[in-house]
Amino acid sequence: MPQNEYIERHRKLHGKRLDHEERTRKKAAREGHKASENAQNLRGLRAKLYAKERHHQKIQMRKQIKQHEERNVKGAAAEKDPSEPIPAYLLDRANPTSAKALSSQIKSKRAEKAARFSVPIPKVKGISEEELFKVVKTGKKTHKKGWKRVVTKPTFVGPDFTRRPVKYERFIRPMGLRYKKANVTHPTLNVTVQLPILGVKKNPSNPLYTQLGVLTKGTIIEVNVSDLGMVTASGKIAWGRYAQITNNPENDGCLNAVLLV
């Protein structure tokens, strides 16, 4: 293979082919057909690679289209009255409202007593101990004693946890089922962010599960919201905030939660 740009050199010396423009036009015109053919007929690893590439292309395309759309509507939107009253010095600004956390509407709702203790998922199915724990029967001594358990559900284990000696370890929380992060949705802003978990506040099924950090549907966890820029009533940046798990993590392999505000 020639190592330099031989096509460019050839073009400089002899010019393009006479039908170059036509060929490029036709090639571009056939691009869709070609893509479709590839998508339908490629098999195996090539199909995977192709699909992945195409996936990325489509993402880029959508992003670009969205940008164009935003640019187009901007002029019209600026003329529109803002929805919520703001002072004169904030008018005409593209306010980054998404980071704004505690809307006054939710605050006033919380002031009502009934709403104060309400959570998005009020009732959950209880989980029995038989379902949650599997008896460990391996080994001669454990087999005889029969008090060692493996937790079969996802758990949260603190960052500085070290397992106890085998002789004393009653509950084993498997590494594969441990979670550190949750996809937390802000209910009013409709944004979802992945946030580190700080701890398990309450597992409604059983206080023992709270102690073990078992993550099931309806569990209240504390998440680190320092990135969101929320503030507490005294004007400090809020660090931890409670969220409730909304999915069955053992089925989905991920942790979805909704922020309690």
Binding site: D81, P87, D92, S104, G235
Partner: protein, 516 residues
């Protein structure tokens, strides 16, 4: 468990009794003879106040020096003014703002080898004779508005009346003494974006999203005038200073998003002039004491207009982005007109005007000349200080340091300090004379929206998006009080002209008043 100390022994007890029963010799506790130095007192313009005097270094406390200056100026004891001193280090350009406990040590530290034979210059800055206490508690939380509060201002007459404008299309007047609503000013059909008391305290002007300006009587709550004419939202309003009122009527200027400002005759509702020329929305308007109107606009220019003729005097172009706010060095005196801390109000109209004018001229005098200065804050992260009387369209100083948009400015009532609040969560203090940076006040965790000085210029209150108000000691640049209590962003804050009360309002719809 903590270790218990054994009880004192008999000998220790006896020694203690003996120590308390005998007279102590205080002589070694008093300062020893440190020697004396020559001191020259100058005022803030650099003029010498009195002859050079020789003072013992042991006696050089700020309080003693203040008394000495008053005595040298042959004042009566009743007329004594407290002074603050700034120390000019001899042989250098250096000026120390903070008066130290050990003056001799400070001089030696700055390399003055023989302070006993050099003359030390102290610039004496008069402080206000009254002192405002930092507000420390929420006196009242008054609900009433149905939407966020967008603007608030205290009456110039006293701190008992506070006017607020809200997103529920009303303005309301509150009695801050009892914490009760006084009047509801209904009539606007859009959010009330600005409220302004007239300098004599008998009228209120409000401007609104419905493109109109209305005049209200604060006692009866009746609307006495509706001024239509703007083509878009009316964003700001400013009254004519009291000493310029003529033909028996006040005038006011309103700024609008349509790029014009209009001067209205209040009694008749006639548009006297339309100040057009700006190419963008006018964000801020001020009426200066020399009958000039200043408008700052989103088209990056500030314009100065002759208010009587309605003609353009100067265009100031230095900013690179929107102008957010204009502050006049005379803001406080123009707002309060003829009211001051002495509470004696002239009886005749002429007397009131004369007093207002005298107060204005006293406040803005620099080096013996009346020079009204103004500062402008912009989205380009800078502040400019202007002196149109002496410098024309050239800025006095460009104040750099903010790391984000600057939202609000305030001159201290004694005109020595300029405070600026910005989106970088910081409030900065600048010397209002030359624009030198003094301090940064950090503490807020979200953009600072507004700031207001107390009447004695010693305290500053800032309101922020982080739901708190903070009171700062201007001199030490330390947080004096943290005032949490709002449940949401605080959009508007004002310190009453007599210093008794701070009023604030924001997104949580309740007006709060703060007292000492």
């Amino acid at each position: 468990m903590a270790t218990l100390q054994p009880p004192p022994s008999k000998r220790q007890k006896r020694a203690e009794i003996e120590l308390t029963s005998t007279q102590q010799d205080v002589a070694p506790l008093l300062a020893t003879d440190l020697g004396s130095g020559k001191f020259c007192f100058v005022d803030s313009d650099g003029n010498q106040l009195a002859d050079v005097v020789e003072i013992d270094f042991a006696q050089t406390t700020e309080k003693n020096l203040s008394t000495l200056v008053n005595t040298l100026l042959e004042r009566d004891r009743e007329d004594f003014t407290p002074y603050r001193f700034r120390i000019h280090i001899p042989g250098t350009e250096l000026i120390v703002d903070q008066f130290p406990t050990d003056l001799l040590g400070l001089l030696k530290k700055h390399g003055v080898t023989n302070p006993f034979e050099t003359t030390i210059t102290l610039s004496a800055e008069p402080q206000s004779v009254f002192k405002v206490h930092a507000v420390s508690r929420m006196a009242h939380k008054i609900t009433g508005h149905g939407q966020p509060i967008l603007a608030c201002q205290f009456s110039p007459v006293s701190s008992s009346r506070l006017a607020t404008g809200s997103g529920d299309n009303t303005a309301r007047i509150w009695d801050t003494d009892t914490g009760t609503p006084s009047q509801t000013l209904k009539g606007h059909t859009g959010w009330v974006l600005g409220v302004a008391w007239s300098p004599e305290g008998k009228q209120i002007a409000t401007c609104s999203m419905d493109k109109t300006v209305r005049i209200w009587d604060p006692v009866s709550g009746k609307c006495s005038g509706e001024f239509k004419g703007h083509a878009k939202w009316c964003l700001a309003v400013a009254w004519q200073p009291y000493h310029l009122w003529r033909d028996g009527t006040a005038r006011l200027v309103s700024a609008s998003k349509d790029g014009t400002a209009r001067i209205w005759v209040v009694n008749t509702g006639r548009t006297e002039h339309v100040l057009s020329g700006h190419k963008g929305s006018i964000s801020c308007v001020r009426w200066g004491g020399l009958d000039q109107i200043y408008t700052g606009s989103h088209d990056r220019t500030i314009r100065m207009w002759n208010a009587e003729k309605g003609t353009l005097v100067h265009t100031f172009t230095a900013h690179g982005h929107w102008i957010n706010h204009i502050a006049l060095s005379s803001d406080y005196v123009l707002r309060t007109g003829y009211f001051d801390h002495t509470k004696d109000i002239p009886e005749t109209e002429e007397g009131k005007k004369a007093k207002a004018k005298e107060r204005f001229e006293k406040a803005v005098k620099i080096n013996g000349k009346v020079a009204e200065r103004f500062a402008t804050a912009s989205d380009d992260f800078t502040i400019y200080l202007w002196d149109p009387t002496n410098n024309g369209t050239k800025p006095v100083a460009r104040l750099l340091g903010h790391q984000n948009k600057v939202n609000s400015l305030a001159f201290s009532p004694d005109n020595s300090i300029l405070a600026s609040a910005g989106w970088d969560n910081a409030t900065k203090l600048w010397n209002a004379r030359d624009g030198k940076f003094l301090h940064t006040l950090r503490g807020h965790v979200a953009p600072v929206y507004q700031c207001a000085f107390s009447a004695d210029s010693r305290l500053l209150v800032t309101s922020s998006k982080d739901t708190t108000l903070k009171v700062w000691n201007v001199r030490t640049a330390k947080l004096a009080r943290d005032l949490p209590g709002h449940e949401d962003e605080v959009y508007a804050v004002d310190w009453a002209p007599d210093g008794n009360c701070v009023g604030s309002g924001g997104k949580d719809k309740a007006v709060r008043t703060w007292k000492n």
